[in-house]
């Protein structure tokens, strides 16, 4: 980034940036962190972990009924079998959408989120309106995401905790009977695995 202005010989540090550096200095001096490992973590979460992981889980469940059963019974193990494990020791639960049930995930307390399968949460997931309104008015929230469900579809809202995180398994769209697992995975969006979206072939 290059800026041309009157202050181009000054580096003005954002106060929060200065505080992070201060903590890094203290923690580095105590041997609790080394800068290399911090960079690896940033790279991992920014570039290597993301909703593509969760999409693989969903596509496999659509494609392989035995895997779907395993995912229902023991999501932590079924997801770990694909190489996606949480670093915080959290358990996973997969909640399956059906013709009469739609699942929506929130964390009312802070922003617990299944990082290992979805990466880091989107801005709205962390916002106070989503955290409160997903529970009080899930249908209204879904409408704002452009999702309208029939009145007879029950919406279940799952409140994540530090120990238990949820992955929504959306309904497999009609017309995908001949799709490969890879082609199916390409259809699965992040929002569909939080419950604020649906999967369709057109997207």
């Amino acid at each position: 980034m290059t800026h041309r202005d009157d202050h181009d010989h000054d580096n003005h540090l954002d106060p929060m940036d200065a505080r992070v550096r201060a903590l890094e200095t203290i923690l580095g001096a105590k041997g609790l962190i080394d800068p290399g490992s911090i960079d690896v973590i940033v790279d991992t979460y920014q570039n290597r972990i993301g909703p593509q992981n969760g999409a693989r889980v969903v596509a496999k469940a659509w494609h392989d009924p035995d895997y779907a059963d395993w995912l229902k019974l023991d999501a932590t193990a079924a997801i770990a079998s694909l190489g996606f494990t949480g670093r915080q020791g959290e358990h996973m639960r997969a909640v399956f959408n059906g013709p009469q049930t739609h699942n929506l995930v929130v964390c009312t307390l802070c922003s617990c989120y299944p990082w290992s399968v979805l990466g880091l949460p989107p801005v709205w997931y962390k916002s106070p309106p989503y955290r409160s309104r997903a529970v009080i008015d899930p249908r209204g929230v879904l409408a704002e995401f452009g999702v309208s469900l029939n009145e007879d579809v029950r919406i279940r809202v799952w409140d994540s905790t530090a120990e238990l995180r949820y992955l929504v398994v959306p309904m497999r769209p009609a017309g995908t009977e001949n799709y490969s697992e890879e082609a199916l995975a390409a259809l699965v969006t992040r929002d569909s695995m939080i419950g604020t979206g649906l999967v369709d072939i057109g997207t």
Binding site: D8, H9, D10, N11, H12, L13, D14, P15, M16, D17, A18, R19, V20, R21, A22, L23, E24, T25, I26, L27, K30, L32, I33, S37, I38, D39, I41, V42, Y45, Q46, R87, Q88, G89, E90, L109, C110, S111, C112, G119, L120, P122, V123, W124, K126, S127, P128, P129, Y130, R133, V141, E144, F145, T161, A162, E163
Partner: protein
């Protein structure tokens, strides 16, 4: 097309900003990674962390659009480290000031080092 904010009411959800990068600024990524590292090293449990973070997020004055989420994150981390006597508030303040002075004294384009602080303690 109008920017989405113009027709958003207060209770509405912040619409997704095109999000090629999950962190708005590099320090947010650093603060995030610090928590992951310190948890890996058993400096605190994930429950302790979730409690600290939710405590910060609950304070009044937190922005409705979630844009200060990592500000809360960093304050929670500072609070936890101070509570565990790993850092003191005074040291964090003093070092943050030193980093700011060092940045001011560093010519544009060069890496900022704490050694560039013109008034070291």
């Amino acid at each position: 097309m109008n920017p989405p904010e113009t027709h958003l009411q207060d209770h509405s959800l912040p619409l997704e900003i095109a999000e090629p990068c999950i962190f708005a600024q590099p320090w947010q990524a650093q603060a995030f990674a610090l928590v992951i590292t310190l948890h890996d090293k058993d400096v605190f449990s994930w429950n302790e962390w979730a409690d600290a973070l939710s405590g910060e997020l609950k304070l009044s004055g937190t922005s409705r659009d979630g844009s200060d989420y990592y500000d809360c994150w960093l304050r929670a981390l500072e609070g936890l480290l101070i509570g565990k006597n790993i850092a003191s508030g005074h040291d964090v303040d003093a070092l943050a000031a030193a980093w700011s002075r060092a940045a001011q004294a560093t010519p544009h384009g060069q890496p900022i080092c704490l050694d560039n602080d013109p008034e070291p303690a």
